[in-house]
């Protein structure tokens, strides 16, 4: 599904979190929103999901004006930095939650739901943990369960908010590779937020560099690294590269 952001703006009191953002995202693309904290990247992601209201502008899912739709209606798969797994439910119940909450008319039969859940756990390479509980899993496992849960509803777009931020460096690197593979296999339009330029440049088809609520540059990772368009981008990439090297 193509996503279009048209002149989206949002302020929190005196602070402009988003200033007139225009962005087109192609169907099946893996896009990174990169920037320091306060740049508005998470606000933009949440606005696409409908978790954050916007003051101006529109969000389009394909031809549909999603701005009019509630969170539930938008069918976005959202993965939180701290997983937000339902602790009192088993892994399988977590993954199948979206399917189980559907209205009777659109809800698949129970056996089918179970089957899909198990299938997804296979997809995220966690077979056999269906009956475990989140508190028995490692951070990396939890994040993959959160991803499976988001995928279960066959979302129009997959949104990830600093998905590996809470994990240690080694796990982060492994999951990065794995996520790219998953995206290539499933083909979902995916947008993820990160402040880690290495992650963004390594993973994404295109990178959106943001600063103080506005977009500085939208380009492929290669062009961002070699042809920064603004001083901020140049400095950001360089500074982060230097920090990553230490």
């Amino acid at each position: 599904m193509d996503i279009s952001i048209r002149q989206v703006a949002r302020s929190f009191g005196a602070v402009d979190a988003l200033r007139g953002i225009d962005l087109d995202i192609a169907s099946g693309e893996l896009l990174a929103l990169l920037g320091p904290s306060g740049s508005g990247k998470t606000t933009l992601l949440r606005a696409i999901a409908g978790l954050e209201p916007i003051d101006q502008g529109r969000v389009l899912f394909g031809a549909i004006d999603a701005t009019r739709l509630s969170v539930q209606e938008r069918q976005v798969g959202f993965v939180f930095q701290h997983y937000a797994l339902f602790k009192h439910m088993s892994v399988l119940d977590n993954v199948t939650f979206g399917l189980r909450m559907r209205r009777r008319a659109t809800r698949p039969p129970r056996a089918e739901i179970r089957r899909r859940g198990l299938e997804l756990l296979e997809l995220v390479q966690l077979p056999g943990i269906a009956e475990r509980y989140p508190n028995q899993l490692s951070g990396g496992q939890r994040q993959r369960v959160a991803l499976a849960r988001a995928l279960a509803i066959e979302p129009s777009v997959l949104l990830l908010d600093e998905p590996f931020g809470a994990l240690d460096a080694k796990v982060r690197k492994e999951l990065r590779v794995w996520l790219r593979q998953l995206h290539d296999d499933t083909g979902y339009t995916t947008i993820f937020v990160t402040h880690d330029q290495e992650e963004a440049l390594e993973l994404a088809d295109r990178v959106v560099v943001m600063n103080a609520g506005a977009i500085e540059q939208v380009d492929t990772p290669a062009k961002i690294a070699q042809q920064p368009k603004t001083p901020f981008v140049a400095e950001f990439i360089e500074r982060r590269a230097a920090a990553a090297a230490t």
């Binding site: 339902f86 602790k87 939650f97 979206g98 989140p134 849960r149």
Partner: protein, 297 residues
């Protein structure tokens, strides 16, 4: 998270209603800081003299009746009725307070409205108000000529001097337990869980039922248990509004009092021991239930 062996009944009337627990072991080595012997010695002596020995005396006295004696005392119609009224009424009051306490806690935690701070402070009133004062105030309110009693009488509902009045008094006295136990848990509930549920397509009602409620259910149960335990033993706020007619509206604590007046110490201790044992058993059971429900925390 450790739990007390016996969760306290009227636990900290005005402070956090969690039972006393010991979360962090002291890092000191015994002997580095002074005063261990003195403080522990004093504390243990005081505890024994004031609490443990008197309570032991109670059970010894009851045991002195022998099993048959106790059985005889407890199975008299009057005693059974009084126990049933105290425990049954407390159960009803706890149930009412669970429902309304949950609504009230939710409203205060989630919404803003005029007078919120004032009403919020008021919730602790039953903790702060002496029970006798509550007792006569409730009676004045619900008697035939009272502000609430009069209109209710029109509908044929009589509160004062009936078991219904007992339940009303119990609701008054135990409401804060549910609200105060639930509030911190609701405050800490992660917003992201609700957001996650919404992105997955759950309606607000589904989110509340399947995500929020299971998270706060243990706290709700604790609050209900504390409310129950308090209401069972309550005396002052109830005896004025209850009719105190034996086999009709006589609560167990009153019956104990009557037995004492008759110098029937055996009878009094039998009832008291029965009350304590049943209360402890129920609270212990709830404690187990909570530990079980926390297995996935």
């Amino acid at each position: 998270m450790s739990t007390a062996i016996l969760p306290s009944a009227a636990a900290a009337e005005m402070s956090a209603t969690a039972p006393l627990t010991l979360p962090n072991p002291a890092r000191s080595v015994r002997g580095v800081l002074p005063g261990f012997g003195l403080s522990l010695g004093f504390a243990l002596s005081y505890l024994s003299l004031l609490v443990l020995i008197p309570l032991a005396a109670l059970f010894l006295r009851a045991a002195g009746l022998g099993i048959e004696g106790i059985w005889h005392e407890l199975t008299s119609a009057r005693v059974l009725h009084a126990l049933g009224l105290s425990f049954g009424g407390a159960l009803a009051a706890a149930a009412i307070n669970t429902v309304f306490g949950a609504l009230i806690a939710w409203t205060f935690v989630r919404y803003d409205f005029a007078g919120k701070k004032l009403f919020h402070a008021m919730i602790d009133l039953p903790f702060a108000l002496p029970t006798a004062v509550a007792g006569i105030a409730l009676t004045a309110l619900y008697s035939e000529h009272g502000w609430l009693g009069a209109p209710l009488a029109q509908f044929g509902i009589h509160v004062a001097y009936t078991p219904l009045g007992i339940i009303v008094a119990m609701v008054f006295i135990s409401l804060p337990f549910v609200v105060r136990t639930l509030e911190p848990v609701l405050e800490e509930a992660e917003q992201q869980l609700e957001e996650a549920a919404a992105t997955l397509g759950a309606t607000r009602r589904q989110t509340i039922t399947y995500v929020i409620f299971p998270t706060v259910a243990p706290a709700l149960l604790t609050g209900a248990a504390l409310a129950f335990a308090r209401a069972v033993g309550e005396y002052g706020s109830i005896i004025f509004i209850a009719g105190n007619l034996q086999n009709v509206s006589e609560i167990a604590p009153l019956l104990i009092m009557i037995r004492l007046d008759e110098f029937n110490y055996g009878g009094a201790t039998a009832i008291a021991a029965a009350m304590l044992v049943i209360s402890f058993a129920i609270l212990f059971g709830i404690n187990l239930l909570q530990a079980w429900s926390r297995r996935h925390a």
